[in-house]
Symmetry: C2
Subunit: 392 residues, 2 copies
């Protein structure tokens, strides 16, 4: 058991506040912490039944926008999936993957019943997050070509079946470029067509997240995928720590940016509610933060560069997937401890309305910052420092 699982895990901050705060104070605390009230929406009984039968949480919320004279509402429903691995990491690779594909199919079916138009899975969703081990086999066997690997073919089938755009983050094997690996999100149209892919732009070397052992910084830029259900982008995991990364998806026109992640309670949890939310505010788009859940045990021990004895798990992935609107208001999170599907309806007109209100894009001064960042990247860069003559 990981340290995270030895103790009783808190299921949800939101439930804890709702249980203990008096109603008037709860409303004010939620306003200050979370923004305007985000109402729940009622889902069809079939979706609720499917969730209960499949043993995963399902929650649904709605962000509306102001009515306009000329522009009609552009309402879409997104689904965020968080899940544990299904089989032990010691099972044969293909069985592990097949079990996760079946789990995904179950949740996607409930999402379809809930009217979801765009479904996003968690980072490297068809495998355990084995990069902590720094071992190459068997984990690299989970890698596959983005365009036509078995996982992509599977996703194409269910995307077409349910008329949903699906974002499928996997470990990519780039057979056209020397078989190298990438951390890649494949974006599949509701027609079943692969629209394109987006690679993870910033790679961690923090704690056990030594992913630079496996793959390099992405080279696909900051693509925005124009779909029937809005302009979508994918900022994978550690890229959420980089505001300039979020910013480029916004500059390229994204209305919804998904952040499929895999991160631990002992490492990043106090940052979790801050970063994707700040990105939604700064860029006037919706952000969807997705984290896997549970603890994954490995057959061979590894160390964590923290002086502690070698061990067999990373710790506890805390779930807590949530959505933030361009006005900074956010939904409650999914559970910290169990599989779940978060369904969020949103009117994409809110992005433009908030740009008009707050003016962050208008006041961005990109013509100032482009040359500044370029200068700062040069080896001979001189920072703008003004010294107090008595101290320097």
């Amino acid at each position: 058991m990981s340290s995270g699982d030895k103790q009783q895990q808190l299921t949800s901050v939101d439930e804890c506040l709702e249980k203990h705060l008096p109603p008037a104070e709860l409303a004010e605390v939620k306003r200050i912490l979370y923004g305007r009230d985000v109402p729940r929406i009622t889902l069809p009984q079939s979706a609720l039944d499917a969730a209960q039968e499949g043993s995963f949480e399902i929650k649904a919320f709605k962000f509306d926008a102001a009515k306009e004279d000329i522009t009609t509402p552009r309402v879409v429903r997104v689904g965020l999936v968080q899940n544990k691995i299904v089989l032990p990491t010691t099972a044969p690779v293909q069985q592990q993957r097949d079990a996760l594909l079946a789990r995904c199919a179950t949740i996607a079916r409930a999402a379809a019943m809930a009217g979801v138009n765009v479904l996003c899975l968690q980072e490297a969703w068809n495998m355990p997050f084995a990069f902590c081990t720094r071992e190459k086999l068997p984990w690299c066997e989970f890698a596959e070509p983005a365009e036509d690997g078995p996982t992509t073919q599977f996703i194409q089938k269910i995307a077409r079946e349910h008329n949903m755009v699906i974002i499928s983050p996997i470990l990519e094997r780039d057979t056209n470029h020397g078989d190298v690996l990438w951390n890649t999100a494949v974006v599949v149209s509701n027609t079943g067509r692969v629209i394109g892919k987006s690679r993870k732009n910033h790679i961690p070397r923090v704690g056990d997240f030594n992913e630079s052992t496996y793959y390099e910084s992405g080279n696909t830029g900051h693509p925005v995928f124009s779909t029937q259900f809005g302009k979508l982008a994918v900022n994978i995991c550690y890229g959420r720590h980089h505001p300039q990364n979020w910013m480029m998806y916004g500059i390229n026109g994204a209305e919804i940016v998904f952040n499929p992640s895999a991160t631990l309670d002992g490492l990043s949890e106090p940052l979790w509610g801050v970063e994707a939310r700040n990105a939604a505010i700064a860029n006037s788009y919706f952000t969807c933060a997705i984290n896997r859940v549970g603890t994954e045990h490995y057959p061979r021990p590894f160390t964590s560069a923290d002086g502690q004895p070698a061990h067999h798990d990373l710790g506890h992935f805390y779930g807590s997937s949530y959505v933030t609107a361009p006005d900074g208001s956010r939904t409650p999170g999914l559970s910290r401890t169990s599989d779940g599907l978060l369904v969020v309806e949103m009117d994409l007109n809110l992005c433009r309305q908030i740009k008009d209100k707050w003016g962050f894009r208008m006041t961005q001064r990109l013509e100032l910052y482009g040359p500044l960042l370029s200068a700062a990247a040069r080896p001979d860069f001189k920072p703008q420092i003004i010294s107090d003559s008595f101290t320097d």
Copy 2:
């Protein structure tokens, strides 16, 4: 009375949680929402007495860093001041200013007793935040030269007296460049010398914050002031909504970035705990978010472009000043309703230690983003959009 003051204001989210949550759940909720525990520190009785006598809140906290073999701790204490205006906005200009200067002197004296090395005042601290009126007189009379105006001379005196660096954000009258106005922070050394100034880089036009009526975007870049007590920078108010602005202070080497602000509960409060905190995380430095407090009434009515009747006040400034460390942990906030001084001790070594741990600066890829932002600023910019062929 403003709408904000008609109802009973919640004094503090932190106090509300502490009052109602059971201890074990409180600890876990605070960990998830605020990060690692930030211990209180004990202040000399003289400082506490001065606060009580002066009718302002005083709170003190401490962020430590890991001990290192070679590098000794670099411990500094900062003080954040939030306060109401003292006299009505109908009093003569000089009397209003003198009353605020006296209030500042009282709080600065307590800060000195509390061992503060660097004190930062709120935005346009020596005047009411009158830009909502869009009137030029009498409010422009509060403007003065940054280098040697009466407020700067006053600050020089108390900086020398208390051996404190003081950051003094004022409305600047630039007599060397056609008498134009700027929103400017003057940085005064603990020796009393004016080290330099930093102008507000991004100007709001949201709600009643129509400050573009009065002054333009700053032209002083992103200066970092190297002082006896660390490398300091000032990101004024609306600049906190712009991650690229925060980033440049970090690139120039800032260890502490102050964000003196004036903002309202009906407008920005759910963003308040997110933006300065995200900046501390993304840039591995300390951020100090300061907001004024109270409601300011004006003699002549103005409208707010929200369809509501003309009125005489902006609403409620919610205080809630707080400090975030590079690891994302934050102090509780000062009160939402009263004057206050927040004293925070910090070991500046934590900035470098967190850079080494998380690697955000190492993985920043500035060489990628400089050209991207420059391209995006050009009128003929083409966003990176990949269209689903069925929809475009």
